[in-house]
Symmetry: C2
Subunit: 83 residues, 2 copies
């Protein structure tokens, strides 16, 4: 599993849309707080591989493109850890 | 917005993977409880239109293919309403 602290640091970028606590203030974006870690990894990889399209997917594809596998694991661990 | 009661009835099918209370017991599936309504509509439409691929997307494409626009609105309203 990822490193929660490293994920927290990396999540500073994500907070703009997904909220500082993982609760998205913008209705079209998902809450990430307490989401399943494995699902978060699978979703981020799908955006990174441009397998997820439609809706606001393009925004996330651009974000995910900048993430390494370690970043993805750490971010997933961080958001899954939020209760 | 959708009809929460109609969504609850329709959600019986979804509970198998996403849990009776919208908390997925299977790690690879997302929790839906309290998720943003607009995001749920956008995601279901993306699965229905086969715009979302990768990971377990194929499973959801098959499910979403059976849903009408009203079903999608009602399911989104229902899951967003769970606190």
């Amino acid at each position: 599993a990822g490193d929660i602290e490293a994920g927290k640091a990396k999540a500073a970028v994500c907070a703009a849309c997904h909220g500082a606590d993982g609760m998205a203030v913008i209705p079209g974006y998902p809450h990430l707080k307490g989401q399943n870690e494995q699902y978060l990894v699978s979703s981020l990889n799908a955006y990174k591989a441009k397998q997820r399209n439609g809706g606001l997917a393009a925004v996330m594809q651009a974000q995910a493109a900048m993430l390494s596998d370690a970043d993805i694991a750490n971010l997933a661990a961080y958001y899954a850890s939020l209760k």
